[in-house]
Each structure stands twice: as C-alpha cells, then as structure tokens.
Symmetry: C2
Subunit: 215 residues, 2 copies
C-alpha cells in the first residue's frame, strides 16, 4: 500500500467513526484535496477491495479495509505514546511526528515500541489502541457513571426505556453510536460535563449517567 492510500484509509476510518455516512465531499474536506481526486482514489481502493463503492452511493470500508486502517491507527497511537512517555515530548507536539512514523514498514520497530510501553490498550486521550491483528480492545458495555474522565466512549445501550428519558436523549441528539467524552466529573453530585460527538458540550446528571451504557 502506498502512503497516500494509507492516508485515505485512515480518513475513511475516521469518518466512519461517528456513524454518519461517508461521502466524497467529506473525504475531500478532511484530506484537503479536490473531489475528483478523491473520486479516482475511491475507484482504486474499490478495485483493491478495501472499500465498497458504487456510483453516487455512500462509501463503506470493507473488513479488509477496516483492518488495514486499524493497523495504521495502532502505529499512530503507539507512536504518540512513545514520543510522549519515552522521549518526553509534549502531547501537543507528537501528532505531526506520529503522522509520519505511522507509515514506517517495520513490525520489529512497532513491536518494540509496544513492548517498551507495556502493551498499552489506550492512548492518553482515552482512544483505544488496536492490537497487532487490527482488533480493538474488547470492552464490556459499562454504565457511564462508572467511567473515567478523559476517555472517549460510544453509546451502546440504555437501561431505561421511559419515554421521558428517550425524548431527552433525542433532544440532545444522543443516539446509539454517538461519541461521549467525559470532560469532568463533579465530586459533589457525580454529574458529568460531557462533550457529544466531539462538538456539543452538556451536563448529565448522575441519574442519566446510570442509565447510559457505553463502550
């Protein structure tokens, strides 16, 4: 796979994260290239069975494509952690370097990085690190009130089906698969300051947290 193809796969994976469908326009915006360029690359990736694509339809990663993307993500996140914990760089400094190192072809190198870091499962942002087979750490659904600050979760279920509860979820645009990031937890009442889908900030009471299952 070329460096460019790897970057497309990474972008595709990222766009598939928040549940929205993947369009040529969104890929173009994320990678800062023009739509016709994306279009030709999409055909290329489709021929290589890394994505599922039909004219005018929305795009999806295949299992093969998703695995490749996760392997790159693994290299990226391990590298970020390495740059920070082993080399002492600041968290804000590591991303650009990791963007380059993630494309290295060397199992030896990344296995050693993994080993030096003690086979971490999450990076310091709470993002999970795929294993060397491209599998994400297996997580059991947990009620949000038992979760930690700084990690990112996805809504996987609810423990209450009252109309008033579900209506509330709709009103804040919270759906299965929505991303929930815990900013802070109030000591006093266990309410949580939350960022939804990387955008909206809100506050969940302890009661709401107890009824949200996340991964």
């Amino acid at each position: 796979m070329t460096l460019t193809e790897e970057n497309y796969l990474k972008a595709l994976h990222r766009l598939s994260q928040n549940g929205e469908s993947i369009s040529v326009k969104r890929i173009a915006a994320l990678l800062e290239i023009k739509m016709p360029t994306v279009n030709s690359m999409v055909k290329n990736l489709s021929e290589k069975k890394l994505i599922k694509y039909e004219k005018y339809k929305s795009i999806e990663l295949t299992e093969k494509g998703r695995k490749q993307a996760l392997l790159i993500l693994r290299k990226h996140r391990l590298t970020e952690l390495f740059l920070k914990d082993v080399m002492g760089l600041g968290w804000e400094e590591v991303h650009d370097i990791a963007e380059q190192i993630e494309h290295l072809q060397s199992d030896l190198f990344f296995n050693r990085v993994d080993e030096m870091l003690g086979h971490p499962q999450f990076d310091p942002h709470g993002e999970p690190i795929p294993d060397s087979h491209g599998r994400l750490p297996q997580l059991k659904a947990t009620p949000l009130n038992l979760c930690q600050t700084g990690r990112k979760y996805q809504l996987s279920g609810v423990l209450n089906n009252d109309a008033s509860f579900l209506t509330y979820l709709n009103s804040v645009d919270l759906q299965l698969g929505s991303q929930i990031e815990i900013i802070t937890i109030q000591e006093f009442d266990k309410s949580m300051a939350i960022k939804l889908n990387g955008k909206t900030k809100t506050v969940f009471s302890a009661l709401i947290c107890q009824n949200l299952l996340v991964l």
Copy 2:
C-alpha cells in the same frame, strides 16, 4: 526535497567518499535503477544547484548538496544509535528502519534523539555524525598508531617521504583519501590489522602506523 531526491543525495555523498569520481553508471548501480532514470534526476538536481553536472563529465556535489546529504546522514546515524542504545535493537536490525526514519521532517524529533544520546560524535561503526548544521566533527590529523580500533579513518598525510615507504604505500594501493579501518591492534608489537577502502585486508607494522596521518 522529495524522498527520492534525498536518496540520490545520500548515494552521491557515499560515492564521493572514497575519492573516485561519480558516474551515472555508479549511481544507477548503487540505487538499482536504470541509467536514463539517473540521467534525468541528475539534470533535476543540477537545476536545483545541488550538484555540478555537464554532459559526459563526472558529477560532483555542490556545497549546498553536500550539506543536505550530511544532514540526512546525521538523521540516519542518530537514528541507528537510538534504535540500538535506547530501543535495544541489534546492530544488524537498525539499518533498514533508519533508512525510513531518516526522511522524517521534524527537527524536534531529531534534536530530542540527539539529546537523549548525549550529542554523540560517532556511531558504533566509528562513522562520524554530522552536527545540525551539516558539519562533520572537527578532527586533527593523527598518526595512525594513536588511533582506536573499530573507527574508520582517511589518509590525510604521511610523516616520511622515503621512496621505499611511498613505494610500499603504492603497492597496497594506499593514497591520500583512502579509507583505513582498524580491525585489531596487536598488543605485543602494536601492529594493526587493517581494512583498506572497505575491501583489502592487510597488516601495518607499528613503524608504518607512526608514519601515516589520518583524519
């Protein structure tokens, strides 16, 4: 500069090391590409003032080109040392990885590597590591008998002009600029087992060593 251009510069620098003149054929052989490809890249590098080139003449790096090459070499050698000393990889394993990492664009990264290694001046092969301005460690010419095992030196002068001495040097094909690598030093008579220009092995008596000035 593109990755390909960097690799050409590195090759050019390497070929300029042992004093022989640089030909299209030798570049092609080293990089394992065809001569016409080299030819067009040579024109490109020439336009960028990185090399001096005229049709059918031999090729030379300009000061600018040499500096660029040394900066890449710096990144390569620092990386090798880092992979070995910090990450515990074997010396035979580090080259291929360093070939990739040397192309990273990040002063931050390489400065930190340099710092973690204590600003080394030589890699474990005895090869000098250029500084961040592309300057090689300043060395004074030293009589060979005062030099260390494992380092590579270049003949920079002689301390004896007897015909018999110079004839001997010719007979082993030792000229100004020739590379001299000290394999071992005999404890008993201080004679040295030597590798010349990376090829021929021979032995120099202590008397010969005392009369050879190297850098």
